[in-house]
């Protein structure tokens, strides 16, 4: 390893230092305030609760790094949950239904991302508008598919996806960790990852350097759609039903996590590690406030202030 490469890594780590410190402070604070906070069971619970939005935040990071935004993620969670549960309930042998339903759900997410990417790159509509439209389209579709009522009659075993454990860890937590590690490797080590940063940093310069910018942007949206779908399936399993109003406002929670994690809304700057810490910061906060029996309306106000504070610390540290 050359000393130069080493230097570069330490600089990248320094970028996440401020927000990481905030997370540690938060952990210490809640550990002091609540005796139940620092128990293994509670921490696993935090990871389970956080996993749904944290997985979506990975896809959002890809999109925001290309200087885009994806507002459709929350509605996708709902429509994919509904589609998956409909398939589960409707297909005869359970052995066939499971893989088909999950594949169908993921495919819908990927399709949504492909549509968003195509509209953004070929038709030159801004990501905000494209995904705003998709957001209402998918939300409406979720209600149309269910007639407004949740889907309950599901084969046994579906709920195990969210409640089961692997090596002592909740399955969603394991999935989340796999997604984060893979995304981190993709962004830091692969050519595609480099292209994501280049496109978000300077679109025209990236194109003139021979990068197929349309493909890169579309791929970011496909990743975001697919990971939203994955979260949609996990959430449906967790509530053991298909809920057309699932995932309401998730897009805002997720964007907050990404931005708190230091990723620039202008694109080209940010990291998966930052998003991970950002997601945890908000997840731990919600859990801690719950343990302290803080009323949910008050929680919203506190979360808002913490988001502002985290970003202010980040801005101040960058100077």
């Amino acid at each position: 390893m050359s000393p130069n490469a080493h230097h570069g890594r330490s600089r990248a780590l320094a970028a996440e230092f401020g927000i990481g410190l905030a997370l540690i402070l938060e952990l210490v604070l809640f550990a002091l305030l609540s005796p139940h906070f620092l128990t293994a069971e509670n921490l696993l619970n935090v990871s389970l609760q956080t996993s749904i939005t944290a997985i979506i935040a990975v896809g959002m990071t890809f999109v925001i790094l290309t200087a885009g935004i994806d507002l459709s993620v929350g509605s996708l969670v709902a429509v994919v949950g509904v589609l998956t549960t409909l398939l589960l309930a409707g297909i005869a042998p359970v052995g066939v239904a499971f893989p088909l339903a999950i594949a169908g759900g993921l495919a819908l997410g990927a399709f949504s991302g492909l549509a968003a990417g195509t509209l953004v790159t070929r038709f030159k509509i801004t990501p905000f508008i494209v995904t705003l439209a998709l957001m209402t389209i998918w939300r409406g579709t979720a209600f149309i598919l269910t007639g407004g009522r949740p889907i309950w009659e599901l084969p046994e075993g579906f709920s195990l996806l969210a409640s089961g454990r692997v090596a002592g860890l909740p399955i969603p937590t394991v999935i989340m960790l796999v997604v984060y590690v893979s995304a981190h490797i993709i962004l830091t080590r692969t050519r595609f990852g480099r292209h994501v940063y280049a496109v978000g940093g300077n679109l025209e310069a990236a194109r003139l350097a021979g990068i197929r910018t349309h493909r890169v942007i579309t791929a970011a949206f496909v990743i975001s759609g697919t990971l939203s779908a994955l979260s949609g399936i996990l959430l449906a399993s967790r509530v053991n039903s298909g809920q057309p109003n699932a995932g309401l406002m998730y897009e805002l929670d997720v964007i907050a996590a990404v931005v708190v994690g230091g990723t620039s809304l202008f694109g080209g700057r940010g990291s998966i590690i930052g998003t991970f810490i950002g997601s945890l910061l908000i997840g731990v906060l919600r859990n801690g406030l719950n343990l302290m029996n803080v009323e949910s309306y008050v929680q919203q106000v506190v979360v808002g202030f913490v988001i502002l504070l985290a970003v202010m610390i980040d801005q101040w540290r960058r100077r």
Partner: protein, 506 residues
Amino acid sequence: MNSEGHTLLAVEGIVKRYPGVVALDGVSLDLRAGEVHCIVGENGAGKSTLMKILAGATGADEGTITLDGEPVRIDSPVAAQRLGISVIHQELKVVPELSVAENILLGNEPTRPKSPFIDRAALLATARSLLEQLGESIDVTRRVRDLSTAEQQMVEIAKAISRKVRILILDEPTAPLTDHEIHSLFGVIRRLKAESVGVIYISHRLEEIFEIGDRVTVLRDGSVVDGAPIGSVDRQTLIRWMVGRELEQEFPELEISPGEEILRVEHLSAGMIQDVSFSVRRGELFGLAGLVGAGRSELARTMFGADRRDGGRLVLEGREIDPRSPREAIDCGIGLLTEDRNRYGLILEMNVRENISLANLGALTRGGFVHRRREAAVAAEYSARLRIKAPHADVPVDSLSGGNRQKVVLARWLFSMPKLLVFDEPTAGVDVGVKFEIYTLMGELARQGIGIIVISSDLNELIGISSRIGVMCEGRLTGILEKKDATKESILSLATQFRGHHASVA
């Protein structure tokens, strides 16, 4: 003689450190009312940092600044403005969607008495009279986005005057201007001088300094090397002060022996480009001359697949090619070093290494993964070969000076191993030392058998380095001159062929 005005501004012992670099190492200089004080120096000499400090964009670590003999603190751009210091940056800070008048009086809009409503009549009248002071007659109701660069610059200068400017800092103001426009800019500067404004003028073009300057100060490596009244120095002395050694010649001897044809362009049409045909040989430096807007960059972009081609053929090494995107052009073996490196060349958020490997990352990738050790080796190799001045290849490229940034873009294209390389204004905003290095490098590439096309607005440069020069005018190629026939006059007459009226380059 204006230079006898009182001392307006004095900076003393200014030190500015960045991580790993001392950008300014105890710089002192002063500015008198009614004089044009030119600051020259190679890229990275510290000119931009000094200007940033005077403009309040960044603070000095040590040193004092006095205005009219009183120590002042310039800790923000607003503070600079209050003190009467205005900077006209290379990249103009106008609001494109607002009108000329609205831009000139931005933040200072006249309102109707005791109301928050803008007094439109007063706004237009004030803006008009400010422009009249400059001898300009731009329609103040036009949207700024529709103006030429030169006109936008005038809007900025008018804005500065509206704020009672006492010190005007111009950073490379002439780079985007035609000779005609430069002439009128100088007229405006002389008017401001007459009104006792002190002007700090930064430029790489030495001939301008001799035309407009009263005094010159040379910076090198963050220190003042020397300074003198303009009348008492010559060009050679200035260059010696800037580079720290004798530069015997401005252009290297490029021993070039063109081989067989490498690229043939036949009847190319695209947008404003009409029916352009020419060919370039292996190892040749083919110059492309023309006025701003003649279509040279458009021609380059079309050959590179960046703009759509309407008709015509491209033949590379005897085979017809049809690049529809930059990627396809690069795969065919064409490289384009674009004009305006910050806008079209670099990814400023990325470091030197990532910028160098960008166009040929595939060669360093296996199974989708970038081979990091090889990438670091490539970055180190090209940084050394082009003598890129950076602490190491992992520093962000936006911490480098203009000349070093240009070298990074150059390194990217060298690493893409092209057969044909198009340089669009490769030496714009680059100092003499780096210019010489770039010319030498072009010569090396040519000797390796690469075909080279150079677009430049600097005619001396084109004549100095090209083996043949194609001249464009209004989208057409109006002639190709052999080296022996290429003179400023012959080029200009071809470049203005369709302009019956005045030639704006003289």
